[in-house]
């Protein structure tokens, strides 16, 4: 077959999903090599909007910004397995994660639950990057126990009036819009009185306070609402249906969080350190290093089992959480071995010269922390597995 010129401008009508998986994979790989700007490859953390908008535009013009959306709405219309291929190739190439929650989170929700007006207004702007979304779920007093959230939305004329606060809002400072879970009925059980609302971040009464994390980065924000108004037309789905809507997203997307890619990258840094310091000749280091190497190789094997399941068109069960637990904890072990192997380099912040190689020895230590805490802490994941998979009594 003839591989199309990867630099050609994409035709939105191309049916990428119709390609065989392998052909599609090579197509993506070659196109990324030719088109992805170097500055978005292997970033240290999450990229801010100003760091990646050029890359967004490139993907948007190619028609590849929304792999999961239907083609009729401007997406690629990929099957789950092709979406996985796409993610794998983006990860393989080291493409950093953009402020993509409009594409991955609220977009699909609007497509499924939104009114025609919501679809017409929000979807094209989300694709183009005109609307950058952040998520308003977590609250200071509702971390793992999300359903106990307190932020309220009260009807007043044509608006809802929102009061309260959201926290751990990833890249909230970059967002133009927010999708919010707010309590609209206090008289019912806690999951049942929650609604799903859209907000303009420019609305009066919103304060965004960046939260500096332990590594010194500003990935997260706390967002305060003081009588913030949003029109009733921004309610998605039915009133008090918010919990169901938010949970509806947990499909095969959960695979991503258990992908072996991040532990592999952490392990690659460990290798780099070991090479610089001549540790491959150290039997004690090699003993720990090889155990970790196999932990990550065997994670990949387990990941493939779930990918196969998606390929067969089967839904994923709660057991997929095991990938997240193993991946995030292997990454932390890798970061600990890196500290041990670094000797005094393990005490230095930022990039430093390690026997001739510039490295940030502690970066994996910091970057592996959120994995066990966010997205349902590993404690919560273990609770879920105990109940839903092992059937242990509650």
């Amino acid at each position: 077959m003839t591989v199309p010129d990867p630099t050609s401008t994409a035709d939105a009508s191309t049916d990428w999903d119709a390609l065989p998986d392998d052909v599609f994979r090579m197509e993506v790989r070659q196109w990324l090599q030719a088109n992805c700007p170097e500055h978005v490859r292997f970033p240290a953390g999450r990229m801010h909007w100003h760091e990646c908008r050029d890359w967004w535009d490139i993907l948007y013009r190619k028609g590849w910004i929304a792999p999961a959306w239907p083609r009729a709405l401007g997406g690629m219309g990929l099957s789950p397995i092709k979406q996985i291929v796409m993610v794998e190739e983006l990860e393989r190439h080291g493409c950093g994660r953009m402020p993509d929650q409009g594409i991955t989170q609220v977009g699909p929700i609007i497509i499924r639950y939104g009114t025609p007006a919501q679809k017409e207004w929000y979807l094209p702007r989300t694709l183009s990057g005109e609307a950058i979304w952040c998520q308003g779920y977590s609250e200071p007093n509702a971390g793992s126990d999300l359903a106990s959230l307190q932020t309220s939305a009260v009807e007043d004329g044509d608006d809802y009036v929102i009061n309260g606060s959201k926290i751990w809002t990833t890249l909230g400072m970059d967002a133009t819009h927010m999708y919010v879970l707010a309590r609209t009925d206090r008289s019912v059980k806690k999951q049942e009185g929650i609604s799903f609302l859209l907000l303009d971040m420019k609305a009066p009464g919103i304060t965004v306070r960046p939260i500096r994390n332990i590594a010194g980065d500003d990935e997260f924000c706390q967002v305060f609402f003081d009588d913030v108004r949003t029109p009733k037309s921004n309610l998605v789905g039915a009133l008090n249906q918010g919990w169901t809507i938010a949970k509806s997203l947990l499909g095969f997307e959960r695979l991503g969080i258990g992908s072996p890619r991040r532990p592999q990258l952490a392990f690659a840094r460990l290798q780099k350190l070991a090479r610089a310091r001549g540790l491959f000749a150290d039997p004690v280091f090699m003993d720990r290093f090889t155990a970790l190497r196999l932990d990550i190789a065997d994670l990949s094997a387990a990941y493939e089992v779930f990918v196969e399941q998606v390929r067969r068109g089967e839904p994923l069960g709660a057991d997929v959480s095991l990938l997240k637990i193993w991946a995030t904890e292997a990454m932390q072990r890798s970061s600990e071995l890196m500290i041990e192997a670094g000797d005094e380099h393990g005490a230095l912040g930022g990039d430093n010269d390690v026997d001739g190689v510039s490295m940030n020895v502690l970066a994996p230590f910091y970057s592996s922390r959120p994995g066990t805490i966010y997205g349902g802490s590993n404690e919560i994941q273990r609770n879920i597995l105990a109940k839903a998979v092992l059937g242990l009594p509650q």
Partner: protein, 381 residues
């Protein structure tokens, strides 16, 4: 065979093993046969032959089923989940060595006998504990001055699993210029066995060779062919042992989860206590990782590259050892005082896991072999 057909085949085989285990009460037999010699039952062996399990990996030309290592693993796994006392894996390893040997009359008759259950073989090759390099062996073969073409063997082989009750031995020897594999029937003059008792009550033996005569027709392979037959048998053996470890791990986890669901303390099933729940989840994760690693390693082992096969075998064995260690130890603790009694079946599995983990190299050895065999490359990173 298509993938789907292969899966069906394996399911059928697994069902047949499970069915046999259900009706043959292997746990009771395992208890009864502990600390006896040979520690298994020849009539059960004969039944297994009739079910085809002794020739799963033997090409059809020699009367076997002509299936792959994957199917052999299915049998090993299923039997191990029931602590079946018969030395199926040990015989499989010796059989695999013979299959890899140069075609000839002896090979054909041995395989026919093995598949039918009449000949039970064991493999004698290991020079020293903690050393699984097939290139080293401690039996030297010299020309027999009194019989042209024949050899005289001197030396020793340690840790021969299945030696007690075996009808003959595939023996790895060094000749002046090359390695070789010979067939030495049990009872050959000059061959003596020092039996030891394994932790699980089965026998194992060290073999001593003193001027043991091997007629020329009993040479199964020489040189590279002998080396490759032995190496392949050992690698596939590691897979079979890993399958056994995973099979018993799964059973032990199931038993432990059942216990957690039913045993009551302080007015609640102990499985309702969160600390135990989280630890049980970790056992489950280890099992899933172990299964996935095994299946992927099995696929990597195909294709004829000996280093790749060895690395894959080490990966499977290392992981299976860790999985079984973690699960069996926690199973004792979670069963409490009951788990420490001989009446509790957990103990049978714990001891079996100890034996299987040490046989043909423990986890540490296999991790280190893996590291030596597989270069670090960008693909893995």
């Amino acid at each position: 065979m298509t993938d789907a057909a292969a899966l069906d085949q394996r399911r059928l085989l697994a069902d047949s093993v499970a069915d046999y285990c259900r009706r043959s009460d292997p746990l009771r037999r395992a208890r009864a046969l502990r600390d006896t010699d040979p520690g298994f039952d020849r009539s059960a062996w004969q039944e297994m032959a009739s079910l085809g399990w002794l020739g799963v990996g033997v090409p059809e030309a020699w009367g076997g089923l002509g299936l792959t290592l994957a199917e052999q693993a299915v049998v090993a796994r299923g039997l191990s989940a029931a602590v079946m006392p018969e030395p199926v894996t040990a015989a499989m390893i010796a059989t695999r060595a013979i299959v890899g040997c140069t075609d000839g009359a002896l090979k054909a008759s041995l395989l026919e006998g093995i598949v039918g259950g009449a000949i039970l073989p064991a493999l004698a090759w290991q020079a020293a504990h903690g050393d699984i390099d097939p290139a080293r062996c401690a039996v030297v073969a010299a020309p027999d001055p009194s019989a042209p073409g024949a050899l005289l063997l001197d030396g020793s082989a340690c840790f021969v699993v299945g030696a007690c009750g075996a009808d003959g031995f595939v023996v790895a020897v060094r000749t002046m210029d090359a390695p070789a594999l010979c067939w030495v029937p049990a009872g050959t003059p000059g061959l003596s066995l020092s039996p030891h008792r394994l932790a699980d009550g089965r026998p194992v033996a060290d073999l001593r060779f003193e001027r043991v005569g091997v007629p020329s027709g009993h040479r199964l392979a020489v040189g590279e062919a002998a080396h490759e037959a032995l190496a392949a048998a050992l690698d596939e053996g590691q897979f079979a042992i890993a399958a056994e470890l995973l099979g018993l791990s799964q059973r032990v986890l199931d038993m432990t989860l059942d216990y957690l669901r039913t045993r009551t303390q302080f007015g609640r099933p102990i499985g309702a206590f969160q600390a135990l729940q989280h630890r049980a989840v970790d056992l489950y994760i280890h099992l899933r990782i172990g299964d996935a690693a095994f299946d992927q390693a099995l696929r990597q082992a195909g294709g004829g590259d000996a280093d790749r096969r060895a690395a894959a075998a080490s990966r499977a064995k290392a992981r299976a050892c860790e999985t079984a260690r973690h699960i069996t130890r926690e199973a004792i603790q979670m069963h409490g005082a009951i788990g420490f009694t001989d009446d509790c079946d957990i103990g049978l599995y714990v001891k079996r896991a100890l034996v299987l983990s040490a046989w043909l190299g423990n986890a540490r050895l296999h991790r280190s072999r893996y590291a030596a065999l597989v270069p670090l490359d960008a693909a893995e990173a």
